[in-house]
Symmetry: C2
Subunit: 242 residues, 2 copies
DNA sequence: AAGTGGTCTAGACCACTCT
DNA sequence: GAGTGGTCTAGACCACTTG
């Protein structure tokens, strides 16, 4: 199989190559987790030097689109897994304790204007709302409010929710074929309402950190919107600038 | 001038090369802002291929140690400049308004245990404490509490402080020869005291975002410790994970 | 025009993984 | 041993900046 490379004026060959491969990944030619053809095969297919093709793949790797493993191959990245909201908080003994997770409620409902805007769908379109409480050793610490667009996440709308995984993203991939590839967390401050406080074991009006997340798939569509609430005094986050 | 490359077993040539150049930069052979020798000169000096030397320089560039400019050269990075604490807050009209800056107090004093620990000096050693209020259009929004180790920052301890720059880091470089190269911001929430609230125009006990910064020079020594306080309701920050 | 970094090639050899 | 990505070389040519 031979491919022609469309070289826009002023564009590098490796950038054009990366763009071409990116498009083929989005088209589903190599699904998440699958291996791309070997370097020399791809290089011959596009008629470029090995080093040029390697540079294109390194570009895709630096963008988090593929993962390269010495001796094994180059793979399309699977969904995120290590992105828990708990990294924003200092709870418990500091040991890497595993947080328990309980689904408090689950309902179909029409998207509010705000949720629809963040999901990129029309207001009133059906979504699945999941409320979930995370605890460390019986102490509730984080309340999550999750909205999922509904035709897509139908498999989660029915059936037993008590056996769900602690990590949602791998579950989205397995049960709905949705791969979360990138997420954007917006950190802010607010107070909790009475009902929220009750679940968290905090008085109404207690200061809370509020993290609003949008999660995106490979194609850049927003597939999840999530608001997490936790005691402001337990919040901490470190940024390094250079 | 020819240089020998110490190749630890299992180490790449470009990594060793980067390490060697890093050491020469730390030693002051090329001060911040200065240009390194041209690629072919360095490559010949170390007896490596051009591509290998380029890879070493790209490594240093990715670590923020040098900056490469097409057609001009490779330069040791100068101090940070665009790292204002205001990026953590949503104040004013949202337009890129320039914040005014007023030094509220300046005093020599012995380092408290906490400040000493963060600065990496002994407790009780002399430091300069600067308190500074930043405002947007007459509205105070950010209170900064800065501690500087004192033998080093002597030039700032005396003289008129009213004409100081809005950006401190370029001033540190110009007046004290200290180049801030990296900074770590630790974000948390708390409340303000009575005196702090008075300066910020907030009631005592009002919820505040607290950003604790450590700033480091090229060699990794902590050269500044800073605590910034602002209204928690104005706080917001976005992180993207991938 | 001279000097700098950026792109691209062709090919040799090494290191890791799997079976 | 066969197949993968990682390192290194030598050299040609291009693009940008400066005098």
């Amino acid at each position: 199989m031979s491919h022609v490379l469309a070289l826009e004026p002023g564009q590098n060959r490796y950038a054009a190559l990366a763009q071409a491969l990116h498009a083929r990944i989005l088209a589903g030619e190599w699904p998440p987790g699958a291996a791309l053809p070997a370097e020399d095969v791809l290089a011959r297919a596009y008629g470029v030097a090995l080093a040029t093709l390697r540079r294109a793949l390194e570009l895709l790797a630096s963008r988090g689109l593929v993962e390269r493993v010495h001796g094994r191959g180059t793979f399309v990245r699977e969904s995120l897994s290590g992105a828990t909201m708990l990294r924003f908080f200092r709870f418990g003994s500091g040991t890497g304790e595993v947080p328990a997770s309980r689904v408090v409620s689950r309902r179909r409902l029409p998207a509010s204007a705000e949720v629809a805007a963040r999901l990129g769908i029309g207001p009133g379109e059906p979504v699945l709302r999941i409320q979930r409480l995370r605890s460390l050793g019986d102490v509730p610490c984080l309340l999550e409010d999750i909205h999922l667009p509904l035709p897509l996440f139908e498999p989660l709308a029915e059936g037993d929710a008590s056996g769900w995984d602690d990590l949602f993203y791998p579950m989205y991939a397995r049960r709905c074929g949705v791969h979360v590839h990138r997420a954007s967390d917006d950190i802010g401050f607010g107070t909790c309402g009475a009902a929220q406080g009750q679940l968290l074991g905090l008085p109404a009006g207690h200061p809370c950190a509020k993290v609003q997340r949008q999660a995106f798939d490979l194609a850049g569509r927003c597939v999840e919107v999530r608001t997490s609430l936790g005691d402001a005094h337990a919040f901490h986050y470190t940024v390094t600038i250079t």
